[in-house]
């Protein structure tokens, strides 16, 4: 028996230890070719010369990851259990606040799940071990988010409408095709485009406009579980943001030829994400009984200030310019949410949320936050008219089907640049067919890859083609899995009636 004399234990640096435990696991295959091993990383035209130049954005070893995450989940689930046991839902600001969460559960949670699956793809198919391990961790985080969101909102589902069929509705309901097609677009792209689309654009560029407003809304409206989830996800998200930033820098630093490719992806995914954010915009401005901040203010702070003034000057060093069509988004900030909520007000009979004319107090808040647009373009011509109908005992719903944009799939509602009174309408022809686009941004995206966007599953077209349960509204709603109380008007809705009964106050009559 030979007892080797012990050398004095030399401590590895954190970086060296992390590297030994993660990326050093990689090896160069010799029994199969590199092209066989990594078949998906060449067709997009991205050139990577040295994968080892990927700077690991976070140095978390596996044991540390488990320990940290297990502790976080223990705390989160304790809050969820306590909230459920104490009927915490009764202390929400209003039952109608949950409309925001109905959109979140159906519109965002399935995206978390999609991210889980496709980060797994990257964790197999990137050639370099650094990005593979980073993607692997993010894949784990994303299933965490999907599941903790479901578990967080599960208790509300037991007492409120509109959440019970969120998975089916993500795949079927007209407005859900906006977030679904956005993520399907990213998953069907190559691994590098996905990294820019989701890793950079969704998780970094737009996360404060797409994801965070729901958490802030929760905090302002007494939704303790969702707020706790938000805080619990924060450290994961900050890792994802760091990864997104590293991803774009890595691609840009590897080869100059990558720059124009990445620029087009930034252009495309800014606009794609921004159009999805239109749904968040109406949520921020109209659905929160206690508003956090206006869309305009959020856009100015989180996009114009933090990204256009903060990030893009840094990216200029690599030759990256602010996204094409960004000016259109800036011009729309005074109007975006109003157009979209008006659409939702018109069509909520076919949705899993309820809408109502904003209260007098709420309209005053909107007028204050949108001094140049709300009163003139939205209050007078729309809400005052809708109010007169209500005063006469009616409720206006638009019972036809809207024309959808072939790319973002939002009903054609957005204005011509510089003219809020005219609906913008662009068209493109491809293979002898005619396609409608809502904006220059969506038209540009369509014209880059028409063979992709002609495939889109457009809910309205599908209804006309008879693929959605039948020709009548009740047929389609049944096919959507809608139940009594899911959609329509807030006043007198099932949630409002129950809320009033639980609080011992008389139910509000149709306003």
């Amino acid at each position: 028996m030979t007892a080797t004399p012990t050398r004095p234990a030399r401590k590895l640096s954190m970086k060296a230890r992390y590297s030994a435990l993660t990326r050093d696991l990689d090896w160069e295959p010799s029994y199969v070719s590199s092209a066989e091993m990594f078949p998906y990383t060449s067709f997009e035209g991205i050139k990577i010369h040295d994968w080892s130049k990927w700077e690991d954005p976070f140095r978390l070893t596996v044991d540390a990851y488990y320990k940290y995450q297990a502790e976080k989940d223990k705390r989160l689930y304790a809050v969820l259990d306590g909230f459920a046991q104490s009927q915490g839902h009764l202390s929400l600001s209003q039952a109608s606040y949950l409309n925001a969460m109905k959109i979140f559960l159906g519109g965002v949670t399935p995206l978390e799940y999609q991210a889980h699956r496709n980060f797994a793809f990257l964790s197999r198919h990137f050639n370099g071990p650094g990005p593979r391990f980073a993607a692997l961790c993010q894949s784990q985080d994303e299933i965490r988010h999907a599941q903790t969101e479901i578990h967080t909102l599960s208790n509300y589902n037991k007492y409120y409408s509109g959440m019970h069929s969120f998975l089916k509705q993500h795949d079927r309901v007209w407005y859900m095709s906006v977030p679904k097609s956005y993520f399907d677009d990213a998953l069907s792209a190559g691994p590098f485009e996905f990294l820019i689309a989701i890793g950079f654009s969704f998780e970094y560029l737009l996360t404060n406009l797409l994801f965070v407003p729901f958490m802030s809304g929760a905090s302002f409206n007494g939704d303790l579980p969702t707020m706790t989830f938000g805080f619990s996800a924060q450290s994961d998200e900050s890792r994802h943001m760091t990864l997104g930033l590293e991803a774009i820098k890595f691609l840009l630093e590897q080869d100059e030829d990558n720059v124009p490719i990445v620029q087009e992806w930034v252009d495309k995914w800014f606009w794609r994400g921004y159009r999805v954010a239109a749904i968040v915009a109406q949520m921020l401005d109209y659905m929160l009984p206690k508003p956090v901040m206006s869309w305009k203010e959020a856009f100015e702070l989180y996009f114009e200030k933090q990204m256009l003034e903060g990030l893009f000057p840094d990216l200029e060093y690599y030759g990256i310019k602010p996204p094409r069509h960004v000016q259109q988004a800036i011009d729309e900030k005074e109007a975006l949410s109003h157009f979209v909520y008006w659409v939702f007000y018109n069509f909520s009979f076919a949705a899993n949320f309820t809408t109502s004319i904003p209260s007098t107090e709420h309209q005053a808040w909107l007028a204050e936050n949108y001094p140049d647009t709300f009163v003139e373009y939205f209050q007078k011509p729309r809400w005052d008219k809708a109010q007169r109908i209500v005063d006469n005992g009616g409720r206006f719903f638009f019972m036809g089907l809207p024309q959808l944009c072939q790319v973002c799939q939002i009903p054609m509602t957005f204005p011509e640049p510089g003219d809020l009174n005219t609906i913008c309408q662009r068209t493109s022809d491809y293979n002898g067919e005619h396609f409608n686009l809502c904006s220059d941004g969506c038209k540009w995206i369509f014209d880059r890859e028409p063979e992709k966007y002609v495939q889109a599953w457009l809910p309205v077209h599908q209804i006309y083609q008879g693929n959605c349960g039948g020709p009548t509204v009740p047929d389609v709603l049944a096919w959507y899995g809608m139940q009594e109380g899911d959609g329509g008007e807030i006043a007198g809705s099932r949630d409002e009636v129950n809320w009033a009964a639980w609080h011992g106050t008389p139910a509000a009559k149709e306003a």
């Binding site: 030979t2 080797t4 696991l25 091993m37 197999r124 599960s154 589902n157 679904k180 129950n498």
Partner: protein
Amino acid sequence: MQYELRTQVIEPIRKTFTHLVERYGDRPASRYEEGTIGLQATEHFHYRPLWAPDKELYDPAYSRFVLTDPYSFTDPRQLYYAPYVTARSQLHESFGKTLDYLESHNLLARLPEAWRQLLTGLVLPLRHYESGGQMISSNACRFAYGTTIAQCAGYAAFDRVGNAQILSRIGLALGGGTTDALAEAKAAWMDAPALQGLRRYVEQAMVAGDWGVEMVALDLADSLLYAVLYRHLDEVALLGGAGSYSLLAQHLAGWFADQRRWVDALYKAWTADPQTGAANAEHLAAVAAEWLPKAQAAVTQLTAAIDELVPDAGAVGAVAAAADSVTASLAALGVTVSAQSKEESA
């Protein structure tokens, strides 16, 4: 005696989400069910993948193993993220304690030389095998049809990096806090004749293309490796004065027992499917006939070197026994691995 705490009771209007009521009846659902069943979309995909235009984003056709109802398989461990990370946190904490103990008592340095060589030259290199296992499992996580399988594969992928990390930490300890032993192990993985069969095997498994085939190929090799290295040698080590080896091996053996639970359940679901069961069984037989002999040859090559270092180890014999046991458990599912292919491997 209990005191009476009065709480506000409000009758819920439903017990869980509709798709779970439709599947399991009107009862409260578990967190595993709510967080798993039906999560993956199955309809109305907007675009075909640029890199697989003949398939949908999620498509049963990514594998020849098909379940009529993807949720006829559920994880017998009922693992969703929170219990998963909790269980693995405990595994790594417990491993960490073992390693601390071995280090503080200088026990690794006191391993018999043959065992030290065995560990450094033949076991540590398997951290790369584990890494290959991660990539195979990650691929399955992306391409499997249905959330239940994809979720198990996704956690298994992360497990593999954890297993590799366990081996790496042993390597760092053996190297006295340096990466010397890991570098030696990597060189062995790349060039040592005893390991080339296994490296070829895992590289070929990684490019098999069908996620189901890749997972089965990995599992066949796992079944031999884990049985021999972390179970059989565990016994041998105890008898041969290499108790530290046994202390380390228990953690990986424990992991594999857990892994087997869902993999066995998946095989069972595949072969028991009322519509696709027969085809799945035939396919499983074909995959086993192709890959089990290769796995046996590769692992035998590795264990022959073990038997040279520790003459009484009986490692080669243990591989044959493990292969028989794999064949027997497949047979129990109605999957017959053809005798001819078994002879070829002998």
